[in-house]
């Protein structure tokens, strides 16, 4: 009996994760809190990517819900690192959490793979940050160019969220419009707690815009579009990436989406390559939900890490070098680092036809890094 227990303990020691020779890629994402929808997408993408890993790689993983608190994220990261064997981390998309985790990751020399859009995370010279989602600078340039070059509108009204996400997007939208020689006729920030968009819509319309440009989180985006549709506003609306999420479109009737477009890194539900179609099938089967660009971005990021490990990277430094200097053809686009950790340089514009909640891709941009 004692011998059996000792044998079992020895077996557990030899095959447990993060022991000598075992590699680990923990996933720290905000599954609860105000970012739960996006965080769940991020988690699902990471989990799906790790499901395909051959056992011979000896790669372990685990998902940890870090909520929305920076302190919780840092604690979770530190605990994961303390277990040893970590070669990369699937890191929260929440900008404030990323900014808090970055010094820890840099100190440990472990790369963070994220889909956070907050511009600042790649502006601090941290070599361990790798963003698999277009930065605000890239996304908002595409956003503005579509409005001006394709829709030929020159009197935009910009409505943005007063959160860090919204303010970052507003700054880059403003810059992008001014580079195109366009001055917005109206600009206003809306707190995330606001439920009635009629006032800001009324003020925006009073400025006589020819297009409504919004950069809001998911629910406020849907509220704004609903308010516009309820009042028969027939101006085109070009929204931020929150609109592309199937969970956002599900809040609205197809008819309310007529005339609405959005920028996004990708739109998996819109179809595309056979690989994307296969991803869509597997995602729906695994999670009984529709994937969005965050899921695809995180999937691609984790797959690039796994690809590096499959090609011999067995340490955090080797994985970091592969991410920093390599190129990877993912589902959404080809990823490469601009030297700051921005890996995604393509943006799509999707539009809804008013008959369906599934948008069509109408324009693609591949932009140089700023």
């Amino acid at each position: 009996m004692v011998r059996r227990l000792m044998a079992a303990a020895l077996l557990a020691l030899l095959t447990g994760p993060a022991m000598a020779g075992g590699l680990s890629v923990p996933v720290l994402v905000p599954v609860s809190g105000f970012l739960s929808l996006e965080g769940t997408s991020q988690r699902n993408g990471a989990v799906l990517a790790l499901q395909g890993v051959p056992a011979s790689l000896g790669l372990a993983s685990g998902v940890i819900d870090v909520g929305t608190s920076p302190a919780t994220a840092v604690t979770a990261l530190q605990k994961a690192l303390d277990r040893g064997g970590v070669v990369a981390v699937g890191a929260s998309m929440l900008g404030t959490q990323m900014l808090a985790m970055m010094p820890v990751a840099q100190s440990a020399g472990v790369p963070l793979v994220t889909v956070s859009g907050t511009a600042e995370i790649t502006e601090r010279g941290n070599p361990e940050v790798f963003r698999f989602f277009p930065s605000d600078a890239t996304a908002k340039e595409a956003h503005a160019r579509y409005v001006v070059e394709v829709l030929h509108r020159r009197r935009p009204a910009i409505i943005y969220q007063t959160t860090a996400y919204g303010q970052s997007g507003h700054v880059h939208l403003d810059e992008s419009f001014r580079k195109l020689g366009v001055t917005p006729v109206f600009e206003d920030g809306v707190d995330i707690s606001v439920n009635d968009m009629a006032p800001v819509l009324a003020r925006a319309l009073a400025a006589h815009p020819d297009v409504l440009v919004i950069h809001l989180h998911a629910q406020p985006t849907a509220l704004f579009i609903r308010a516009a549709a309820a009042r028969g506003v027939d101006l085109p609306i070009v929204a931020g990436s929150a609109m592309h999420q199937p969970s956002t479109a599900a809040l609205l009737q197809p008819a309310e989406l007529k005339g609405v477009c959005a920028e996004t890194a990708s739109s998996p539900v819109s179809g595309g390559s056979p690989a994307m179609a296969d991803f869509l099938t597997r995602y729906r089967a695994a999670f009984h939900a529709e994937p969005d660009a965050y899921a695809v971005g995180q999937y691609d990021g984790m797959r690039m890490v796994i690809d590096a490990i499959e090609h011999g990277a067995r340490s955090p430094a080797a994985v970091q070098a592969a991410l920093a200097h390599g190129r990877y053809q993912g589902l959404a686009m080809t990823y490469w680092s601009d030297g700051k950790g921005n890996m995604a340089h393509s943006v799509e514009i999707v539009c809804y036809d008013g008959r369906s909640r599934v948008p069509q891709v109408v324009k693609s941009y591949t932009l140089p890094a700023p």
Partner: protein, 288 residues
């Protein structure tokens, strides 16, 4: 301007139902029901789930939710008031907060944290009123809330049951001495208040979206409406709700959202400084 007025009236109507339910419990028990916001959110979530599951129309869902929420009101009274009705008032504050939290987290576990849309009361685009495009849904909300408020007023002023409810709210011991089952009337008040909260939740969810955790802001609005209108005053609750809605729509439109919020709270301070019992509150001396 007409569309804006409709927007303000619709919001005022929905908030009025929430505030009325809040005041009903205050009048009946002297207890501030801190679960009111969560009850409103629960009404909206139940409406969303019923619409998704059974494909029922908005009006049918409204009636079903009102009945279901009344049932929850009985549970609320049994769990959060009856056991502590002879304890200091602070005990009921805690039990109602606890009930609200349990309700919120239970709905989150059952239905998920994501926001949901509720089927409209009336489908279709805007209607033209004196040349202005007014959302059809706003007009439906005003109508439904008006009918509910009139029904509640009729119940309280024209029926024996309503007279009993008012008697217990005015003086429970005297009412009991007159043979009125005071405890049963209080429990019924909870059921009515919760039904009103549920209907309010459905109407609010028709304008916005609803999630289990969306009640926090609503309890604050109900509290402000009651403080402005006067504790224990049903007409005051309606007036207070209208003031809150006016700030959130008209001031937000003509100035800004931050100005609307700041202005509302400044008004609350001013009213309480000049008239502490609220605009329609009873004079304390008269009750003695």
């Amino acid at each position: 301007m007409i569309a804006l007025a409709a927007d303000a009236l619709a919001l005022a109507a929905a908030y009025a139902l929430v505030a009325l339910g809040f005041v009903l419990v205050v009048k009946a028990t002297g207890v501030v029901n801190f679960a009111q916001g969560d009850l409103v959110a629960a009404g909206g979530v139940l409406a969303a789930l019923a619409g998704d599951a059974a494909g029922l129309s908005g009006v049918v869902v409204l009636i079903a939710v009102a009945i279901a929420m009344a049932g929850i009101g009985f549970v609320l009274a049994a769990a959060a008031w009856l056991p502590v009705r002879r304890r200091p008032a602070e005990a009921a504050f805690i039990t109602t907060i606890a009930f609200g939290l349990i309700l919120r987290e239970g709905l989150t576990l059952a239905a998920g944290p994501q926001p949901r849309a509720v089927a409209p009361l009336v489908a279709g685009g805007p209607v033209t009123v004196f040349g202005a495009a007014v959302p059809r849904q706003d007009l439906a909300i005003i109508l439904v809330a008006g009918v509910v408020m009139l029904a509640q007023a009729w119940l309280f002023t024209r029926t024996q049951l309503g007279r009993r409810l008012r008697a217990v709210a005015a003086d429970a011991e005297m009412a009991r001495a007159c043979g009125i089952p005071a405890t049963a009337m209080v429990v019924l008040s909870f059921a009515l208040a919760t039904a009103l909260a549920g209907v309010g939740g459905v109407l609010i969810a028709n304008r916005t979206f609803v999630a289990p955790g969306g009640g926090t802001g609503l309890i604050l609005r109900a509290y402000i409406a009651t403080a402005l209108g006067g504790w224990g005053s049903l007409p005051g609750a309606v007036a207070g709700a209208a003031i809150v809605a006016l700030f959130e729509t008209l001031v937000a439109t003509f100035v800004s959202y931050p100005a609307a919020t700041a202005g509302l709270y400044l008004m609350v301070l001013a009213v309480l400084a000049v008239r502490p019992r609220g605009l329609f509150g009873e004079a304390v001396g008269r009750r003695a």
